[in-house]
């Protein structure tokens, strides 16, 4: 069984929610980034998203944009990211998802990528700018290599569309909480309950909620309705400020107790 599915099953049996954390790989360089990722894993992440930096991140806010710029300036590439994933896999059983824009994956070559990612111990991909309609090209080799294609659902996605998209989804659903780019927000108008309840009628998969969550309080509020909470920009900022472990512990406590 895929580690993602296994993790959600285990957590569901324990009656716990999951904390999913995103970090841009290579920010500010490969070595520091690997240390931060290990720190986050040790502090309570249930699932890890490894962010592939991209020159033109059209769905990201200032924090992840800047992280990507720093990572690219340090010269990191997908090959090195896969090698890091393999190193992490030697010591961790946490599910790992490659979080990327389409072009770096496309340039690597979808077949070669799926082979190398599976070998490195990755469990799935989340591709921000690859909507369902364009995804077949990637989903076919992913399936062959036992990787899960994580489907994003937005507040703008109609229930009919969600049902169609989720018919072939696997692992979990990533529900985007806000209309906008990634990044922390002081106040999120959470229609979380209504939207997630509606999404439950479209799928039996676990639902992870993300975009805009930055602290324990927001995470707890989201975790009350979702099965998992995703935090990205806030982790990137915390890593910069040297308080990553503290934030991950705070978030994990909030999510696990929700």
């Amino acid at each position: 069984m895929n580690r993602i599915t296994h993790t959600f099953q285990t957590l569901r049996m324990q009656g716990r929610k999951a904390l999913i954390g995103y970090l841009t790989v290579g920010d500010p360089n490969l070595k520091t980034s690997e240390r931060n990722i290990r720190l986050a894993l040790a502090s309570g992440l249930d699932i890890l998203e490894l962010g592939v930096p991209f020159s033109d991140p059209t769905a990201d806010g200032p924090s992840i944009q800047a992280a990507g710029q720093r990572a690219l300036a340090s010269g990191v590439n997908l090959k090195q990211i896969l090698a890091m994933a393999a190193r992490l896999r030697r010591t961790s059983k946490v599910p790992m998802i490659l979080f990327s824009y389409a072009n770096p994956l496309f340039r690597y070559g979808y077949d070669a990528l799926c082979r190398d990612a599976a070998r490195a111990g990755l469990d799935g991909f989340l591709v921000v700018d690859l909507p369902f309609e364009e995804s077949a090209e990637l989903r076919v080799p992913m399936k062959r290599h036992g990787l899960l294609f994580i489907q994003l659902i937005a507040p703008t996605t109609s229930p009919e569309r969600a049902r169609r998209l989720l018919a072939e989804a696997d692992g979990f659903v990533y529900y985007i909480l806000v209309k906008g780019v990634t990044g922390t927000r002081k106040r999120i108008v959470f229609d979380t309950k209504k939207n997630i309840d509606r999404l439950r009628t479209c799928t039996a998969l676990p639902i992870a909620a993300g975009f805009g969550i930055s602290d324990g309080e927001q995470a707890r509020a989201a975790a009350r309705h979702a099965d998992a909470v995703v935090v990205g920009s806030a982790l990137v900022e915390a890593a910069r400020a040297g308080r990553l472990a503290k934030l991950v512990r705070e978030l994990a406590t909030a999510v696990h107790k929700a």
């Binding site: 769905a59 909507p131 996605t157």
Partner: protein, 399 residues
């Protein structure tokens, strides 16, 4: 040859819709509204009435006799898009999209701009229809196209400076896409080229096809036959797609798209996505793209802000593969010489973008011979470029 994309916006392997899920419903809604509008005679009537009475269409097709003599060969006809209201072809498209926005009940227009021509054209349409307007523009372009920034502001638009990346058109477009995600309910994103996700490439071409339709009828009227060649510059490729569209089935008419070679293709500082790029995915579509081996988008370079973009419209990629259109490139220096030629010989100041098409005509006129005719799309006027040209000439005088 098929000219329309498939149901999901693919031109062969190119095009499509590579955007975040948040935008997908908006694109599907846009596509449906667009299809409906194009079938509505009232919409088309209104669009063409505005093009006639407000934009000043049809734009003339002008036989440039002194330029023809100087270039020593084919008769050179200029399609005078520079005479349109706001000074470039861009207005054809923004009128079309603003009308569509109004039909869809959107109250805000948003645009990216490089040279500022599309920004000005969008701000103009917004003023005309009483809509709010926001324009995203790279700080580097704000510097080299200052007059257009002021024009947009006078027209009531808010200009957002974009500092990220190279601070040019590519980054302006990325920022516009981010802003659109946040305001997708009430905002219509007016893309200025035949680029971006479906339906933009075919929609923008449709609104710009008026250039080709007019040019074809005009050349037939003036000469009694079709031209041997049609030349247009290609950044994203909207003026080229617009003029080519009427000649696609005239297989004897050679179509030539001119990319910006900047300092020269071999220097790596250019904007020739078709000439020197590889297939990739950027800003919602699959097409030729300037990128490194890791799939990171590379910076384009051109003296012309409107051509300074590392990608190209997906249909151009398809035309390049099928060889229906031949693509070549012109350096900064060649374009500036052509700018001087037209200015001195005809009293017409061409935009630096259009100067690339003129420079290509210079190379081909003699070989085609005096009995041949070339139609050159003079896509815009050069007033916006004067400071930039002056600076360039001062910098390169000693070299």
């Amino acid at each position: 040859m098929k000219h329309e994309p498939d149901a999901r916006g693919h031109f062969g392997p190119y095009g499509g819709r590579y955007v975040a899920e948040t935008l997908m419903p908006a694109l599907i809604e846009l596509e449906q509204a667009y299809r409906k509008a194009m079938k509505d005679p009232a919409f088309n009537k209104l669009f063409h009435a505005i093009l006639r009475d407000y934009v000043g269409r049809p734009s003339p097709l002008y036989l440039a006799e002194r330029l023809t003599k100087a270039y020593g060969g084919a008769r050179l006809y200029l399609k005078r898009e520079d005479l349109n209201h706001t000074g470039a072809h861009k207005i054809n498209n923004t009128i079309g999209q603003a009308l569509l926005a109004r039909r869809m009940g959107k109250t805000r227009l948003m645009a990216e701009t490089g040279a500022g021509q599309h920004g000005v054209a969008t701000a103009t349409a917004a003023a005309l229809f009483g809509m709010e307007c926001e324009v995203f523009m790279g700080t580097e372009d704000i510097r080299r196209q200052a007059p257009n920034v002021q024009r947009m502001q006078f027209l009531g638009a808010t200009v957002h400076p974009v500092h990220s990346g190279t601070a040019t058109l590519k980054d302006a477009m990325s920022e516009a896409m981010r802003a659109w995600v946040a305001r997708v309910d009430d905002t219509f994103y007016v893309i200025g080229s035949v680029a971006g996700p479906h339906p933009y490439p075919s929609m923008v071409r449709a609104f710009q096809s008026v250039i080709g339709t007019e040019a074809r009828a005009q050349i037939l009227e003036k000469t009694g036959c079709l031209p041997n060649m049609v030349i247009a510059c290609v950044g994203g490729g909207s003026n080229a797609a617009g003029i080519f569209s009427a000649f696609l089935d005239d297989t004897k008419v050679r179509l030539v798209g001119v990319e910006a070679a900047g300092f020269g293709i071999r220097t790596g500082k250019h904007a020739a996505s078709i000439g020197a790029g590889r297939i990739g995915i950027l800003h919602g579509a699959k097409s030729y793209l300037l990128q490194d081996d890791d799939g990171q988008v590379q910076n384009a370079h051109s003296v012309s802000a409107g051509l300074d973009y590392p990608g190209v419209g997906p249909q151009h990629a398809h035309w390049a593969d099928s060889a229906r259109v031949k693509y070549c490139s012109i350096t900064d220096t060649e374009a500036l010489r052509a700018f001087d030629d037209l200015t001195r010989l005809e009293g017409i100041l061409p935009a630096l973008e259009s100067s690339h098409a003129l420079a290509e005509a210079k190379k081909r006129a003699r070989k085609l011979g005096a009995r041949a005719t070339i139609v050159i799309n003079l896509s815009g006027r050069g007033d916006k470029d004067l400071d930039n040209i002056m600076a360039y000439k001062q910098k390169h005088r000693k070299q």
